[in-house]
Amino acid sequence: MPFMKRYCFLVLLSCGLILSGCAGAFVAPPPEPTPTEIAVPTLPPPTPTEATLNPQASPAADMAVAAVVEPEATAVPSDTPTPVPTATPTPEPDWLNNSGRTTENLMYLGNPNAPVTLVDFSDFM
C-alpha cells in the first residue's frame, strides 16, 4: 500500500508538472475586437484641397472643412438634368447709370418714365 500511495503521488505530481508546463500554450487568446471597436471613425488625412483652403488649420478646423467638403464628395451623380427655374427674377436697373438728353437738349439722369420729374435750375457759380 505504501508503494501505491507513492505511485499515485508520483502520477499526480507528473500530471501537475505536465499541466503547468503546458500552461503557456493554453492561455486564452485575446478576444477578437468587436465590430463596434473596429468601426471607430478616424479622420482621413487632409486632402490637398483642404490644405489649400486653410493651410494653418487646426485639427478642429480640418474637421470643419471636411464636414463642408464631404457632402459634395458623396453626391451621387445622376443623369437626370437639374430642373432650371423658368422664371428668373429680373435685376433692378440702376438708374444712376442712365443719362441722356431731353427734347430740349437738357441733360437728364434716371428713369425717363419716372412718375416724378425734378428740374434743377442751377448755376455752377
Binding site: 433692378e92 436697373p93 440702376d94 438708374w95 444712376l96 443719362s99 431731353t102 430740349e104 437738349n105 437738357l106 441733360m107 437728364y108 439722369l109 434716371g110 428713369n111 425717363p112 418714365n113 419716372a114 412718375p115 416724378v116 420729374t117 425734378l118 428740374v119 434743377d120 435750375f121 442751377s122 448755376d123 455752377f124 457759380m125
Partner: protein, 143 residues
C-alpha cells in the same frame, strides 16, 4: 445743387422714381458761360454728371483768376481726354446750346437759383433733403 442732391439720387433716382434734369442758369455772365460749356464738353466724353459734381464741389474757385485754366485743370485731374476737352472749351463749341438751355428758364420766369421744379411745384433756394422729401413723397403716393 449738390447738397441734398446725393440723397435725392440715392433715394429716388437710383430706384427709378424720380427723373433728374439739369437746366443751366447763366447768372454770372462769362464765368457762368464757361462753366456750363465745360460741363457740355464733359458730356461729349460721356461724363456730364461726374463733371457736374466736380464743378459744384469747386465752385468757390471760379470767382477769380483764369477760369478756363481752372476748368481745364479740373478736367485733367479727373482723367478726361484733355486734348479734346481743351479744344472743345477753346472753340466754345457748345456756346449756342448753353444759351438756348438758359432760355428755357428765362421763358419759365425763373430769375434766381437754385430753383427746383418738381412736377409743377417749386422749391426755391438750397434746402435740406427733408424739404424735397416733403414734396416728392406725396406725389409718389398718388401715382
Amino acid at each position: 445743387m449738390l447738397g441734398a442732391e446725393e440723397s435725392i439720387k440715392e433715394t429716388y433716382v437710383k430706384t427709378g422714381q424720380v427723373l433728374l434734369i439739369f437746366a443751366p442758369v447763366l447768372n454770372h455772365n462769362d464765368r457762368s458761360l464757361q462753366t456750363h460749356q465745360a460741363a457740355e464738353c464733359a458730356a461729349d466724353q460721356g461724363r456730364f454728371w461726374e463733371f457736374h459734381n466736380i464743378l459744384f464741389e469747386n465752385q468757390d474757385s471760379f470767382w477769380y483768376g483764369d477760369i478756363q485754366a481752372t476748368l481745364k485743370q479740373l478736367a485733367a485731374d479727373a482723367g478726361f481726354d484733355t486734348a479734346a476737352f481743351n479744344v472743345c472749351l477753346d472753340e466754345q463749341r457748345h456756346l449756342d446750346m448753353v444759351q438756348a438751355q438758359d432760355q428755357i428758364r428765362i421763358n419759365a420766369g425763373i430769375r434766381g437759383q437754385p430753383v427746383f421744379n418738381i412736377n409743377g411745384d417749386y422749391i426755391v433756394g438750397t434746402q435740406p433733403f427733408e424739404v424735397f422729401q416733403g414734396v416728392i413723397d406725396p406725389k409718389l403716393a398718388t401715382e
